[in-house]
Symmetry: C2
């Protein structure tokens, strides 16, 4: 048992270094002992932290003793790498030991032909379950659910249910709820185990069933399922087909993974990273990031075309070139603040048709007020620096324009993208910086041309 | 029961509009009916989406019938606003109906004097429990835990435990595990309810206990507890004091909230927003954001001081002013990609002393390679545009310099901040943009001064 939270740091950098050193010295027994003392998650963390070369050596060493659970904990890029080293027999052996949802998760990213090979190695019953899981769309409730659950007919008494639980040997260890179905297999409700324990044996199970439990269709998107778990504080949720027949159950630990995944995606997309490339190869990372940088290059070129229109003004007043990045940068930052709040609120369902106009109005007010504050700061600084009150007035006015534009862009762009079915996290910032760069340079250089030349 | 996922959209914009309309028309009965048909989470969503004025009216209308659960689901800013309208008697009544952890959560943000008033209204037992919860540090396991759990001595048999569960009336509904303690109240382990149900009555409970269950000290940080839940796929986790005495239990639904909170914080901080200001007043939002914009103004001024050193060069070759933002912007974007991956990996414990050097080396390689790719693109474009191969070579060389600098800054800044105990999510990007702006302008304008003048 863990004393004082030592479990919180199961895999320390020192441990990883010891494993690396033992591996380098060819002490295979020591490597094995160190790894086998770890939980599946700990083993996964080690495989993620060593170099690709060392990882291959570790997998070769452990092949037969690999904990199947460990495979489900690995980052996708690392798992692909590990699966490459295993043949279809090894993968099938691992899949057999996992819950259906984890097995589906393991097989879903394999190339089609290899997946077929693995499925062919499995007993018919396991194969059928995994294939029916794979038949559901990516990221759907059907992919997430496990099929092993306690399901009893609505005609039984509490005593019959308890006897069934006692006799059945294939029931999952982590049972929290008993699901009750009618004669057509349709979900009638559920009974928490704790309540059943406290009820007398002759009572009909239907008397203590919760009929109003939430359920999700197998085709529901995993992000929506996660919202339901959050809103209702669920530990498990039954999955039903279009006729409300009970198909399986989703457990909260899988939802924790979904929430992590969605949060990670939003954060990474906002930062211009398409997917978690921490464990991807250098070449793959270059390719993934170059796409985003190319889009950004385009917007930077558009901004510089705007500047190009004012070469004449810059030639006459070179201070314009010195000051213009300040206006653009402040707009970009203020707009990023707005976009970040908007994207998060959209993802959490907090920004809807009902409060959209209020949100835009508030953001424009915030942009205008901060615009005035920083117009005074920067205008004053420029007057002190260049002893030119007209230049100060121009930069102040441009600052207000750009911060209001940033607020409008920061709200309308994500809302518009969402409306057209485009993920606002992934493209909002690019459009936004285009707006704040163009308006920033245009307002500052344009006003300067009008009032200073 | 929900048919086809209608629960996923309990609060539609139409519903909010209907409530707003009924409220405006003074149809208080209709408002009441519409709100009372909702779950606590649904009611919270409505209060968050209406205007501040309408929210006050709704709270005034519902005062006595407010579901205490609803208060725990509200966003912090909105909750402060709602609590302002309730007197200490109302708040105490709500706190009594909540689990300890939720009651602590409700009271922790109240001003000290109001909190004392509310505590004075509570029965002594509730008050003591809440006060001991408040005694733990913010965001600690002690704040998160609930005290109601099933705790049995290690001398009992399964039958005694079952009888105890049957007779006790104050046990929580959502029991999943029975905790076993020794004569000094120290945790011996736990028994999943499902296993107990399947064991014969005379078996000693100690025979079926899991002694190796994870536990956390009450002072552990909530982010670490969340990591433990993730790594071990836990549904509940006992909390112990320094002598391993069982104090309470943390349930997974509270951990889901923690994970959401931490993910939200990281996303918002990266976007330059100190806290979720979606529901804050305009003035408060202006103040929160202005701090970050002021920091950004400083970095922009530093960048423009660098440009100021090259006024002479810009005066002679005005194209430099047109092109310089491109180099800075590409560096900023490439660096943001690196920082985002690094911050996420640090938060998830994936980037440690063991793989730090490998990570830095990879990022520098990625930066160099993308630098070469975009040096060729942009250099070529500039040669075609300005018919000046030397200008093309200068912008290409500056691009490579800045993308390598961005990779170094994007890795070393968050790692360095983390080392000095500063949250890398909150300040990495500001330092990074300073680096990429300064290096971008310096490399481009400096190389131009050397080779073109």
């Amino acid at each position: 048992m863990s004393a004082e939270g030592d479990l919180l740091d199961e895999v320390t950098p020192e441990l990883v270094r010891r494993i690396e050193a033992a591996l380098a010295d060819g002490k295979t027994e020591e490597v094995r002992d160190l790894l086998e003392g770890l939980s599946p998650t700990g083993q996964a963390a080690v495989l993620e932290q060593v170099s690709e070369h060392q990882r291959d050596a570790l997998v070769a060493l452990l092949k037969r003793d690999l904990d199947p659970e460990m495979l489900t904990e690995l980052d996708e890029d690392v798992r692909d790498d590990v699966l490459d080293q295993l043949d279809s027999k090894d993968i099938a052996a691992a899949a057999r030991e996992l819950e259906t949802d984890d097995a589906v998760n393991l097989l879903e990213d394999l190339p089609e032909d290899e997946r077929q090979e693995v499925l062919a190695e499995l007993p018919a019953a396991d194969r059928a379950e995994i294939e029916s899981g794979l038949a559901y769309p990516d990221d759907s409730a059907g992919r997430l659910m496990q099929r092993s659950l306690v399901k009893v007919p609505d005609s039984w008494s509490v005593g019959q249910v308890i006897d069934h639980c006692r006799e059945a040997t294939d029931l999952p260890e982590d049972v929290y709820d008993i699901f009750v179905v009618d004669q057509w297999g349709r979900l009638s409700g559920s009974v928490p185990l704790g309540r059943m324990l406290r009820t007398k044996r002759p009572v009909p199970i239907l008397d203590i069933v919760d009929p109003d439990i939430p359920s999700v269709p197998a085709t529901a998107d995993q992000a929506e399922v996660a919202h339901l778990f959050r809103d209702k504080n669920l530990v498990s949720c039954p999955v039903v087909d279009e006729d409300r027949r009970l198909l399986g159950v989703i457990m909260v630990d899988d939802i924790v993974d979904v929430i992590d995944e969605e949060a990670e995606e939003d954060l990474l997309k906002m930062g211009g990273v398409a997917s978690d490339d921490m464990h991807a190869s250098t070449v793959r990372t270059v390719r993934l990031r170059a796409i985003w940088l190319a889009v950004n290059l385009l917007t930077a070129v558009i901004a510089s075309l705007v500047i190009g229109q004012f070469e004449n003004a810059i030639e006459k007043i070179v201070a314009l070139a010195v000051l213009m990045p300040i206006v653009a940068s402040m707009g970009g930052n203020a707009g990023t603040q707005t976009v970040t709040v908007a994207v998060r609120a959209l993802a959490m369902g907090e920004l809807t048709g009902a409060n959209m106009l209020r949100f835009i109005a508030k953001e424009v007010a915030v942009g205008g007020l901060n615009g005035i504050i920083f117009a005074i700061c920067m205008g004053g600084a420029v007057v002190a620096w260049y002893h030119d009150w007209r230049l100060g007035a121009v930069i102040g006015a441009a600052m207000i324009c750009n911060l209001v534009a940033a607020a409008l862009g920061g709200t309308l762009i994500p809302l518009g993208l969402q409306k057209f079915g485009v993920d606002p996290a992934v493209s909002s910032t690019v459009f936004l910086t285009t707006v704040t760069d163009v308006i920033g340079f245009l307002a500052f250089l344009g006003l300067a041309t009008i009032f200073l030349l």
